[in-house]
């Protein structure tokens, strides 16, 4: 292959690296009203009165909106395909504010300073209610987060707002209790993962204005332009035909921008005032009113027979969706549906979950989307099982992992069509120097090294839901335009999709100009999330390029005055194989400008399956047993994402996901105070890894060939965050014999567990 499996540079690399003005805030020039949202200081309260008179007197203030000024129809901010699984449970502004930071008023003025001044002058009388803050106490709590009667789930996800239940579900195969009762070894433990912030460097931001046709234009840093169009239509109660969403370059997303966190606020200001409006979240706002990872508590029961065959897995997850249900009913599913099927010899499984509302920030989509939480629990439990059996934890995995060709009952009964997980494990062992008799190395002075492993899978798009489309057309001199609806957010999909099309069209990648995204011009795409783009939209790119070749041949046949069936296209010209006469693509494209025949094609793709990528991650850490501090030293990651389309970008995705996973494992945590206020409001208090914190990350690929993927490709974006938490937790136990079941694995937790072990005391995993 000429363009696939190559380290092609990103098309936008030089613009980004030399600081060209390409992001939303850089390109939105002009006379915008500055919009800010006044936030509730209470976790649960009813607005009894709002007085804006003093605030309206501030010079430069144009509009202040309260709950009285917005449509009274509930909607969701979750960027999902219609009908969304996330319940319609919000208003743009609600009298009932449900978390510290919930929107109480929208203020628009000529500049930021006058808006801030006006916000201080708005007088709100709150009736303060008792909040529900502990997610383990939320279900059937007398305090209801959503007591309203117009709570509106479009899909029955088992939720009940009168029980603080956003969703409930159960899936099983076989009799899990029966099989577990016959197991020789059973581990039954409970694990806890925290809310984490995606902390993309570019915060949420949106610019809105009316264009010449009086349509609402929305320039937004979003992963889901087409969903944003629907969300705004729902929120503002205006037809979708009046809205156009444009995505410029995006400064990172990782799922955060799969929720329309900020779009509604400037949009309603523009709608009401007619003036262009902008909102730019400060880091503080992005930390306290955004869309972090769902906090989860996961109980795992896992059993094996004497020989080490894992016979049954039972997972029960409680997920904290916070004040609103964005991505609540769906993220939780991955905590079981990805983590259970990776073990292929089970006779029974059960997966049950409750998703609860609390008076905390609404959760959202964060890379891994529930699978990350599930793998922390299950992969920790597998190691605990191995220790109980006195077996090497990696050997236990090698004996039990799912193999190519198997049906996966816990993965919607899908077949495992491509899987090199066994080879990934073998290679990761070599890289890290895995030796089952030496998972612990005492370096003296209380410093101990440990190695721990974990495996993971994810999906490639959402089967039967995610759709990608690509339009290709030929221009003068034979260069191509490729229009996509998938959103490059730094991941490089503009380049990756061009590589795929170039491979089919047999032309250099530079010969394809990529355009994305504008909801008027781009063909429909559900957006860049769920690890969908390379697989789903990539398949659409293959289909479209093939369809375009047919059109090129049709045009060639006309010029050559022969039958299309006799035409051959080699990327540069069309040739009549009978006569040998040929016409170059350049001449064909130029003459076609006066032909009445458009050489362009649009094709879409949706997959009935979601082939999982697999990976093995192995962490070598150093623990200072005097302090409990963990320092990552080496991390070996070997990924089977099918064919690697861009060798550089896949590697960087993996390295980046692992670093994020290390932050989650070791220190990242959205801290709340006793009344639901935030402690993690800035990068001073919410620490993400810096370059001296990650150690050495060694990434390799062992590619299977996925028959349904474009050139054999699966996905890469999300799976890469799933192994660090369990691998590090497992390394801790291998090194010093203590098990931390509660993320993050802070030095204090490690040291306390170590002391307790020395004293022979069992510590609770919930000592956070």
């Amino acid at each position: 292959m000429k363009y696939v499996s190559k380290p092609v540079r990103k098309k936008d690399a030089f613009a980004l690296l030399t600081g060209r003005p390409v992001y939303a805030e850089d390109i939105a020039g002009g006379d915008f009203l500055f919009v800010k949202v006044l936030k509730s200081p209470y976790a649960n309260a009813i607005i009894e009165d709002i007085d804006i008179t003093k605030a309206m007197e501030v010079r430069g203030i144009v509009k202040i909106l309260t709950y009285k000024d917005v449509p009274q129809v509930r909607f969701t901010l979750a960027g999902q395909t219609y009908p969304e699984w996330s319940p319609y449970d919000r208003l743009i502004l609600d009298r009932h504010v449900r978390f510290v930071g919930d929107a109480a008023a929208i203020v628009a003025g000529e500049n930021e300073r006058c808006v801030i001044q006006a916000m201080r002058r708005i007088k709100i009388k709150y009736k303060v209610l008792e909040p529900v803050l502990d997610f383990l106490e939320a279900k059937d709590n007398p305090v209801l987060v959503h007591p309203e009667d117009d709570w509106n789930p479009l899909v029955d996800a088992g939720g009940d707002n009168k029980r603080n239940l956003c969703a409930h579900g159960k899936d099983s195969s076989g009799d899990v209790n029966e099989v577990l009762s016959k197991c020789d070894y059973v581990v039954d433990e409970t694990y806890h993962t925290q809310a984490n912030q995606q902390t993309m460097m570019e915060t949420f931001r949106t610019f809105t204005y009316f264009d010449a046709q009086n349509r609402l234009n929305v320039l937004s840093s979003t992963q889901v332009p087409f969903h944003v169009r629907r969300i705004l239509s729902n929120a503002l109660q205006i037809p979708k035909s009046r809205i156009k969403v444009i995505k410029p370059r995006i400064g990172g997303g990782y799922g955060a921008k799969q929720t329309a966190v900020c779009e509604v606020y400037p949009a309603i200001v523009t709608l009401i005032t007619g003036r262009p409006a902008k909102i730019i979240y400060s880091r503080r706002e992005a930390q306290i009113t955004s869309s972090p990872r769902h906090e989860m508590q996961i109980r795992v029961r896992i059993g094996a027979d004497k020989s080490g065959i894992i016979k049954a897995i039972d997972v029960y997850t409680i997920s904290n969706t916070g004040a609103y249900g964005e991505h609540g009913p769906t993220t939780v599913g991955l905590s079981g549906h990805k983590s259970i099927p990776i073990y292929g010899k089970t006779e029974a499984f059960r997966f049950e979950y409750d998703v609860v509302y609390t008076n905390k920030m609404s959760s959202g989509a964060y890379r891994g989307y529930g699978a990350t939480q599930g793998f922390f629990a299950v992969e920790s439990a597998v190691d605990e099982l191995a220790h109980k059996m006195g077996m090497d934890p990696v050997k236990l995995r090698e004996m039990n992992i799912v193999k190519e060709g198997q049906i996966m009952p816990a993965y919607y009964g899908e077949p495992n069509t491509s899987c090199h997980l066994d080879k990934c494990i073998a290679r990761a062992k070599e890289i890290i120097g895995y030796n089952e008799n030496a998972l612990r190395k005492d370096l003296g002075g209380g410093i101990v090294r440990g190695i721990g492993a974990a495996v993971a899978m994810q999906g490639s798009g959402i089967s039967n839901v995610d759709m990608g489309s690509v339009t290709l057309k030929i221009n003068d001199d034979g260069f191509y335009s490729m229009l996509i609806g998938a959103t490059d957010m730094g991941t490089g999909c503009d380049t990756i999709l061009a590589q795929i099309a170039a491979e089919v069209l047999m032309c250099p990648v530079e010969n394809i100009a990529v355009f994305g995204v504008d909801t008027d011009a781009s063909p429909y795409d559900s957006g860049s999330y769920a690890s969908a783009t390379t697989y789903v939209t990539g398949n659409a790119a293959v289909k479209t390029a093939n369809a375009l070749i047919e059109k090129i041949k049709t045009a060639g046949a006309k010029t050559l005055e022969c039958h299309k069936e006799d035409c051959v296209f080699d990327g540069k010209s069309v040739t009549d194989k009978n006569t040998g006469k040929s016409v170059s693509l350049k001449d064909l494209a130029n003459s076609n400008m006066a032909s009445g025949f458009a050489i362009e094609a649009t094709e879409s793709f949706m997959s009935p399956v979601s082939p999982p990528p697999f990976m093995a991650g192995m962490a070598e850490i150093e623990i200072d047993t005097n302090t409990g501090k963990i320092t990552p030293v080496n991390y070996a990651a070997v990924v089977d994402c099918g064919t690697v389309i861009n060798t550089n970008l896949a590697k960087v995705q993996t390295e980046g996901g692992i670093a994020q996973g290390m932050g989650m494992a070791l220190y990242e945590n959205v801290h709340y105070g006793p009344d639901g206020q935030y402690y993690s409001k800035s990068f001073m208090q919410y620490k993400i890894p810096a370059r001296t914190d990650v150690g050495n990350i060694h990434v390799e690929f062992d590619s299977s060939y996925e028959p349904s993927g474009p050139f054999g490709a699966k996905s890469i974006g999300e799976i890469v965050i799933n192994t660090p938490s369990p691998a590090i937790a497992n390394a801790v136990e291998n090194a010093i014999g203590v098990r931390i079941r509660d993320l993050p694995i802070t030095p204090e937790k490690v040291l306390k567990a170590l002391w307790a072990k020395e004293k022979g005391i069992e510590v609770s995993s919930h000592e956070s």
């Binding site: 300073r113 501090k629 070791l666 220190y667 620490k687 810096a690 030095p747 204090e748 040291l751 306390k752």
Partner: protein
């Protein structure tokens, strides 16, 4: 960010002091911490025109201008030669090079922040604050005092033969410390400072008559115990009080070993 009606680059410390007597006026040093406040100031007082960014070595002391940046101090070879190389350990974990190119020694000392590596470090040396009105005041006294309207002109460190050793414990490499610890080794005894407890650093002194110059491993442990017991500790999102106390002991032991006090 704070707001201000006027921004004044003062021509002299006299002017700075005069302006600073009004509560609504405030001195802008490196503006690393002040920028985080939402204070409404009348006048912001800028000292950057006073050429107070010097590091001067004399026969008997080092004088560090209040506007000297942390980075300049960190890179100053004469200072490191005199007091030991750990000055770069004390400053090197503070956010990043760009931050330390703006953050000033005067601002750090004036702030008397709980998390301050700078304060912890200087407390174990024979350090004085040269204030415009109150004159030369020992740093330990200044650190314990409340904020007032005086102006720090410079920091003076006496060359009394002391060497400073520094350790900190952080959850990430560039985070605020969970505990900061320093020891200053003098010919008659040792000075110990523990900061980020999370309260601000204080200093204690242990004479060689109590804990001699050379120590056995057990004596090191009991001195470290003594030091950690001499301070009180609190809890915040980074760590609990009990854990901090333990870390203070661990770091003190490490520092003692670093000083080469172990009996052969």
């Amino acid at each position: 960010m704070f707001t201000a009606n006027e921004y004044i680059k003062v021509k002299s410390f006299d002017e700075a002091y005069e302006l600073n007597q009004k509560r609504t006026n405030k001195i802008v040093a490196g503006n690393m911490m002040l920028r985080l406040s939402h204070r409404k100031l009348n006048k912001a007082i800028d000292l950057s025109g006073l050429e107070a960014d010097y590091i001067l070595e004399t026969e008997s002391e080092f004088k560090i201008g209040c506007m000297c940046t942390l980075r300049d101090l960190e890179k100053n070879e004469a200072f490191a030669k005199c007091f030991g190389p750990d000055i770069s350990e004390a400053l090197g974990h503070i956010v990043g090079v760009q931050f330390r190119n703006s953050a000033t020694v005067g601002g750090s000392i004036f702030g008397r922040f709980g998390f301050s590596d700078v304060l912890t470090y200087f407390l174990v040396l024979d350090t004085y604050v040269n204030l415009y009105k109150d004159g030369i005041v020992p740093l330990s006294e200044y650190a314990a005092s409340d904020y007032d309207n005086d102006v720090i002109m410079e920091i003076i460190v006496n060359k009394d033969g002391r060497k400073a050793y520094y350790e900190s414990f952080r959850l990430t490499d560039t985070d605020f410390p969970v505990i900061s610890a320093a020891v200053g080794v003098h010919k008659k005894g040792r000075f110990f400072a523990i900061g980020a407890r999370p309260a601000k650093a204080r200093v204690i002194y242990a004479d060689y008559s109590e804990f001699p110059e050379k120590l056995s491993p057990n004596e090191i442990a009991s001195l470290a115990e003594y030091v950690s017991e001499s301070f009180n500790y609190g809890t915040n999102i980074r760590a609990g009080a009990g854990y901090r106390k333990h870390i203070a002991k661990v770091l003190t032991e490490r520092l003692l070993k670093k000083t080469g006090c172990e009996k052969p």
